[in-house]
Amino acid sequence: MKKTDESLESSLFEKRKKLFPREVHGLFATLRLTGVGILLGLYYLIPWINLNNRQIILFDLPARKFYIFDWIFWPQDFIYLALLLICAALALFLFTALAGRLWCGYACPQTVWTEVFLWIERKVEGTRSQQIKLEKQAMTFQKFRVKATKHTLWVIFSLITGFTFVGYFTPIRELLSNISHFQLSASESFWLIFYAFATYGNAGWLREQVCMYMCPYARFQSAMFDQDTLVISYDEARGEPRGKRKKTNDIDAKQLGSCVDCTLCVQVCPTGIDIRNGLQYECIGCAACIDACDDVMLKMDYPKGLIKYTTENRLEGKTTHLLRPRIVIYCILLVSILAGVIYSIQNRDSVALNILRDRSSLYRENFDGTISNSYTIKVLNMDLVDHSYKLSVSGIDGIKSSISKDIKVKAGDVLEIPMSLSAEPESLKQPSTVINLSIQATDDNSIYTKSEGRFIGPLEF
């Protein structure tokens, strides 16, 4: 961290200088583009993939059910989602401790979408120097046309992104047909436009400012760093003193280091920093400068790696340790929580039974002298197949239920049925008796659950 809080504070008030990151090719650019391709491919395709006649990932808010592959999450399973998020955070800590800002450089949605926006920008406005030239020009019809084309393409791409986002919450095929018939609900349209606007604003306009001023992770990631964390660093000992030269010139004679001061590393940087000034909090670890510098080193016939992934220990000539206490702790925590979550998800009860007493009357005396109570029972089939359940009641001698048939509940459905229980007054020992209800699937002995209720009788005996 080179900048102090004060200079950060003042930079908040500085007018932002627009950056024009230069296109870069090389090993890490290829890796990043592969990451972009895979992640965006998954994002845009997943809602279209169906499994058992429904989307493989669908957060069905109206039905209050989340479908993730074969799993159905009910509201009472919220704890699993919370634990999965904790796992994601731990994984992020682990990767940060190992390899620095791997997430930022290759996988963060901000990086991934900005990459696509930059690509569109380059296709429309041309190379970095053409973009800078265009920016300096006064507004002409030609400039307006180019800018308008770029923004139109950005907006179209953002709208597709917003549409896909809503497609995770509303079945996407239905959504598409609703759009084509102009029958989108107000909330669906709102979220589509909201997400599209966020994409357009963040990836088109804000870009590196999101990482510098808005991202909480950027502020605390340095806490996970240590001397053995992989960082992108300029080899100052080898590079300095920097200076321009012709290829044929003898370095030793000119007393120059390897850095030819071409400033390409600065030009390709998406956050506009100079990596040669040391590790800075703005660096998102995208390795664009490594690719750019290696290219130059190759042309100059110098060894690669003037800017490279390295660790502070290695820079100081010490050895780098992969296994450190913090790595071991993160791994143990991550593996144990993940294993616990998966185990308990796999072993969830696949049926739930709720019993609600009818509040309008305490009890009823029937003409045959028995006492009866009314209830509503809810049976949730949380399994992936339909089941029939047998209901049994106990707690009072000779208690009878109005439900004699098996209860059929479709997969992933909730069935509410009225039920009345009746008992002989002689078998009631007190005004209010605890009764036990249980249901058992007729086709699978392991699917079983029970619930407690109360049976109210006359106050006097």
Partner: protein, 78 residues
Amino acid sequence: MNLSKKRVIIGALWPSFWVAIMLSGVVFSYIDPLIISDILGFPGISYIGAYTFGFFFFWLVCAWSGFFSIIFSRPARK
């Protein structure tokens, strides 16, 4: 009062946005939003509509708190 736009947006609106998402998740997992909207007198609202209103309500409340945090984090005499 000299509050820059960036300060308010990043200090109040932005963190509260995330907290509102988390709150919506936790609260609506346990409470059916339609029950609340019935009590408040908006029967017939759709689920996504109810979630949307809930989310904005949480966002507003949290942003309110963030806004006051910004105000009180500066010295009174200035």
